[in-house]
C-alpha cells in the first residue's frame, strides 16, 4: 500500500506555481486566526510545495514519511539517527541564497524563488546509505544541470564543489569541544556527474518543503551514490578544475571514496555492502533485507560515466 500518492497528473493540469512564501503567509494568517486547516499535516517549519511529475519511479513501496523525516544522518545536528529531527528546531533556512561561482562565465547568487523557478519536479528515487540501509523517497527538486546552465561553466571546469552552511548558533555540533567533523561539510562531483539528468537539487519531499533534518532548504540528491554525497543545506557551489575535497573522504580515505558509487562488490572495511536494510515499519521480523544493486539500480543511466575505470580503486 502507498499511503502517499505521488504525483501522476499531466503537467498541463497543474495549477501555476504559487510562491511558497505567499503560501506561508496564508498559513500564518490561518494560524493566527485560529482556523483549523484541512491541509495534510506538516512537519515543523515545512510548507506545501507544488511540482510536476518528474517521471522517475522505481515502483517500490515508499518509505513512510515518518521514517524519512526521523531517521537521518546530519552531523551538524548530532551523530545519532534521531538527533537531526530533535536538534534542528533552531535552524532557520529562510531567507537563503546559494552562491554559484568558480570557473563560470556568470557567477551569481540564487535565492529560493530563483531556484524554484528552475522548474520543480517530483521524482521518486532509491536512497542507499553507506551504512547499509536504504529508503525510497519522493523528492521534489530540479536538475542541477538547469542551475549550472544559468552560470555558463567555462570549458576548463572539470568538477563541482559544494559547501554546507556554517551556523554554530543554530547547529549544535558546530560548537563546543567535541565536534564530530570539520566544518563546513563539503562534497564534490565530476562535472559530467553533476550534469547528469538524475542529479537534482532537492527542495522538498512528500509534497512539502524539506524539513530541517533532511537538509532544508536545498540539498543534493545523486541516487546512484551513497547518501553522504547528498550534501545538505547548500550555501555555495563552485566549479573547479581540480577534484574538490569531500568531507568523509578526507576523514577516512580508506572507508569513503570520492566517487562513493553504490557498489555491492566493494565492501566498507567494517561491513559488507552486498545487502541493505530497507528502513521503515515492521519491526524486527518485518524488517526488510534486500540485495544492494550496482549503482543502486541506476546502472543503465550512469554506468557509462565510469567506462574504463577500476571501481574497486575508484570506490
Amino acid at each position: 500500500m502507498r499511503p502517499y500518492r505521488p504525483l501522476a497528473i499531466p503537467a498541463s493540469e497543474i495549477t501555476p506555481e504559487a510562491s511558497y512564501f505567499q503560501r506561508r503567509d496564508i498559513l500564518r494568517m490561518a494560524a493566527a486566526g485560529g482556523l483549523a486547516l484541512a491541509a495534510p499535516s506538516l512537519a515543523f517549519g515545512t510548507e506545501m510545495l507544488e511540482a510536476k511529475p518528474g517521471g522517475y519511479d522505481p515502483g517500490e513501496e515508499l518509505t513512510p514519511e515518518a521514517d524519512v523525516t526521523s531517521f537521518n544522518n546530519f552531523y551538524e545536528f548530532g551523530t545519532g539517527k534521531a538527533d537531526p529531527a530533535k536538534n534542528s528546531g533552531q535552524f532557520n533556512p529562510r531567507p537563503w541564497t546559494i552562491q554559484v561561482d568558480g570557473m563560470v562565465g556568470k557567477p551569481a547568487e540564487f535565492d529560493l524563488d530563483a531556484l524554484m523557478a528552475l522548474g520543480l519536479e517530483e521524482r521518486i528515487y532509491r536512497m542507499r546509505c553507506v551504512e547499509a540501509w536504504s529508503m525510497v523517497i519522493p523528492w521534489i527538486g530540479f536538475p542541477l544541470a538547469s542551475l549550472l546552465d544559468k552560470v555558463e561553466p567555462l570549458g576548463s571546469a572539470k568538477y563541482v564543489a559544494f559547501e554546507t552552511v556554517v551556523r554554530p548558533e543554530e547547529m549544535p555540533e558546530q560548537r563546543g569541544v567535541f565536534q564530530p567533523l570539520p566544518w563546513p561539510y563539503v562534497e564534490g562531483l565530476r562535472l559530467d556527474e553533476a550534469r547528469h539528468p538524475l542529479t537534482i537539487l532537492s527542495m522538498g519531499l512528500y509534497g512539502k518543503t524539506l524539513p530541517n533534518q533532511n537538509g532544508a532548504p536545498v540539498r543534493l540528491v545523486t541516487p546512484w551514490k551513497y547518501g553522504f554525497k547528498g550534501i545538505k543545506s547548500i550555501v555555495r557551489i563552485t566549479l573547479t578544475e581540480e577534484q574538490p575535497p569531500s568531507t568523509w573522504n578526507k576523514l577516512a580515505p580508506n572507508e569513503y571514496g570520492f566517487y562513493a558509487n553504490v557498489n555491492p562488490e566493494v565492501d566498507h572495511p567494517r561491513w559488507s555492502q552486498a545487502t541493505e536494510n530497507r528502513v521503515g515499519g515492521g519491526g524486527f521480523f518485518g524488517s526488510n533485507d534486500r540485495p544492494t544493486l550496482m549503482f543502486n539500480g541506476y546502472g543503465n543511466e550512469v554506468a557509462s560515466l565510469y567506462d574504463g575505470m577500476d571501481l574497486t580503486v575508484n570506490f
Partner: protein
Amino acid sequence: MQLPTLPKRYHAASIWALYALGLLPAAWTFYLGATGQLVGNPVKIFEHLLGEWALRFLILTLTISPIRDLFGVNWVRYRRALGLLAFWYVAMHFLAYIVLDKRLAFDVIVEDIFKRWFITIGMAAFVLLIPLALTSNRWSIRKLGAGWVRLHRLIYPIAAVGALHYCLSVKVIGPEQLIYAGIIAVLIGWRLVRPRFMAMKRGRRPQYGKLAAEIPRTD
C-alpha cells in the same frame, strides 16, 4: 561516609531484583522492536542497545571493589550479578547480530569475524567472558581457589577490548565513546595504584588483618 545499610535478610532479594532490573532494558526494547515500535532501523537499535548495556555492566562490575576501597561500602554481593548481566548482554548482542542482523548467513558472519577487526576483537572478548560466566558460582570458587582469582582478572582485558570495539565500530569517535573508554581506563588504572593506596591507608590505621579485597564473597 555512612550509608544506610540494607538489612541482611533483604540481600538475596536485592540481588534478584538487580537481575530483573538489569534485564529490563533488553526485554523492553525487544518488545518494542518485535511489535514494530522502533523507528528507523530496529535491528541496529536493539543490537546497539545490547552492546551499550554490556559495556555499562562491565563498568559496574569493575566499580565494586574501588567503591569498597575508597568509601568503605561493601557491595561485593552484587558483583556476580553485574558480571553475569554483562555476559548475558554480550551474548544477546551476539545473538542479535547473528540472528536478526545477519539472518544466520554463516558465511557472512564468519567472514565478518575474521576480516573485520572490530568484530574480531569483540568476538575475542565474548569468548573470554564464557569461562568467567561458567565459573561464577560458589562451587567453582571453592574448586579453583587462587586460580579463580587469576582467571577472573580476565575481566580487565575484556573490558578494555569492549571499549576499543565500541570506538572502532562507529564512524567518528565522539564523546560517548571517549567517556566509556575513559571510565574503563580509570577503573583499570585504579588497580595499578591500588596496592600503594591501600598500604598508605593501612599505614595510618591499625591493621585489621588481611583485607578481603581479593577474596570473593559467596553470599
